[in-house]
Amino acid sequence: MTAPSTATSALPVAGFPPAAVTAAGEPAVSCRNVTVRFVTDRRTVTALENVSFSVEKGGFLSLLGPSGCGKSTLLRVVADLVSPTHGQVNVLGMTPQDARLKRSLGFVFQDAALLPWRTALQNVELPLEVGGAKKLPSGAPTPRELMKLVGLEGWEGSFPHELSGGMRQRVSIARALLGGPRILLMDEPFGALDEITRDRLNEELRRIWQETGTTIMFVTHSVYEALFLGEQVLVLAANPGRVTELVDVDLPRDRTLKIRETAPFVSIAAELRELLGRGV
């Protein structure tokens, strides 16, 4: 059962339901023809139209697109915060709702969304106090270990207003990682940070992704961020929100920020910018 994923067989393994196995490995998240319409009093907005894609387990997908192209909506659909108007969404072989109830998802919001009356550590512990998950699965890192993982050892007792924006965002990443979610959804988590902090957190996020093996879907406006982080980049276009292209990022797994000056990086960045321009 601990066989590496390269040895995929289409035969169902004992104790596991037969799963749809693709050539690229089992998808952690897959969407087929997902359309989301918001009906308000004055008009109907098509946030997403016929969006199909999939992310394999342990993958890192960047979602890149102009404002209003439905990136946040797409994450919300996966997290069961929004129901698609039609189309199928599959998360780890379950419906998004089951995946949410099983605590398979972690969500990192743009403004960290820490509870100001809780210390950093208490914020990380929140997932253990609600939703019926009173105990950590065995082997999962403790809140203190996660604080260390995000580089905040020694700040456990600080309140959010005593932390910098970057530190708050790290706390919120630690909170999202509590309980070992299989999928981490991040909606422009570093959008409000300065470039220096953002670069450092980007490197750390790559490291955390490699250490935890979590599948990550990461929303961003920045071509560089999308490319540096992602193993794949899903380029979206607006009005209505739709997929322009899914770009495979052919860069080494171990990346430092220096990679941004290398020729392959620059050429894929140019390609992404091309695709973004075409979508407008």
């Binding site: 919300r76 997290a79 069961d80 915060l81 949410r100 109830l101 605590r103 998802l105 972690g106 969500f107 919001f109 743009q110 403004d111 969304a113 509870l115 100001p116 009356w117 929140l126 997932p127 106090e129 609600v130 939703g131 019926g132 998950a133 309140f159 959010p160 207003h161």
Partner: protein
């Protein structure tokens, strides 16, 4: 080499500047303490001088000395009358605020109720206290009950409004977080809404602390023989201005103490900084 020399030169300067900063800061603190005290003393002196120069008769306005003399001479009487007022104010405060908190909680859980009853609450609130008071005296008799009811009614409205706002104005992303965590409605209430409402609640409680005393006093104006309100009426009809002023001072001291208690409680409970704070 030169850099070391420069730092060495700089060091005394830095500590001198720090000492200067500390000195200025402590001077600032003393200023903030002494100036109000000086202001109060000056006003008292001005009041005394005016009464003395214009030969104001004692039944119109007393001198501060006479008020102080009454405060000490009739201290027993004043405290005797403060007691019922304090009980009425505190009971009214508790009753009004607890009711408001309970109703706010129900409103947040059952939107239908909020839509049905909030307008009614607003209408009742527009009736001035002095108009509500006789109605309540007729309904509840001459004892402490109508005064408690008036104090409670005064406290009720601001707390209800603030509490509803505090419970509802949670960060939408925090709400989504709770949903991602599959939190139940009760958990959302206990872990999120309740804490979020505390700063709002306390700002209403601070208002209530003073207004509940006003409510009790207004209640006592209408048919009562004891209490700060009754004493104010009696002193006025007896042209005992010194007693009137002394009574008013006792009443406002109590009100101030009440307010300070709530402020202290707020500091103990709300230890975090509200996100929209300065």
């Amino acid at each position: 080499m030169s850099t070391i020399a420069e730092t060495a030169d700089l060091l005394p300067d830095v500590s001198a500047a720090e000492a200067e900063f500390a000195r200025r800061k402590s001077r600032e603190t003393w200023r903030r303490r002494l100036l109000p005290a000086a202001g109060i003393l000056g006003a008292l002196a001005l009041w005394g001088a005016a009464v003395w120069i214009f030969k104001v008769p004692p039944f119109v306005a007393p001198s501060p000395v006479a008020v102080f003399a009454t405060l000490t001479a009739k201290f027993g009487l004043l405290m005797e009358n403060l007691l019922p007022t304090a009980i009425e104010a505190i009971c009214g405060f508790l009753l009004g605020n607890v009711t408001a908190i309970v109703i706010a909680t129900t409103f947040v859980h059952k939107k239908v109720l909020e839509e049905a009853f909030f307008p009614l609450v607003v209408i009742i609130n527009t009736i001035p206290v002095v108009a509500k008071a006789p109605i309540l005296v007729l309904l509840l008799g001459n004892g402490m009950e109508p005064k408690i009811a008036i104090a409670a009614l005064i406290c009720f409205f601001p707390t209800l409004v603030n509490m509803v706002r505090g419970l509802e104005s949670v960060n939408p992303q925090a709400m989504e977080l709770m949903r991602v965590l599959s939190a139940s409605k009760t958990e959302v209430f206990l872990k999120l809404r309740l804490y979020n409402s505390l700063p709002y609640l306390f700002s209403a409680l601070k208002i209530s602390a003073s207004t509940s005393v006003i409510g009790a006093i207004v209640g006592e104006w209408i048919g009562s023989t004891t209490g700060i309100g009754a004493l104010i009426i009696q002193a006025t009809y007896a042209f005992d201005s010194a007693l009137l002023y002394a009574t008013v001072i006792v009443g406002s001291c109590f009100s101030m103490l009440f307010f300070l208690t709530i402020t202290l409680a707020e500091r103990l409970v709300v230890r975090w900084q509200a996100p929209t704070g300065h």
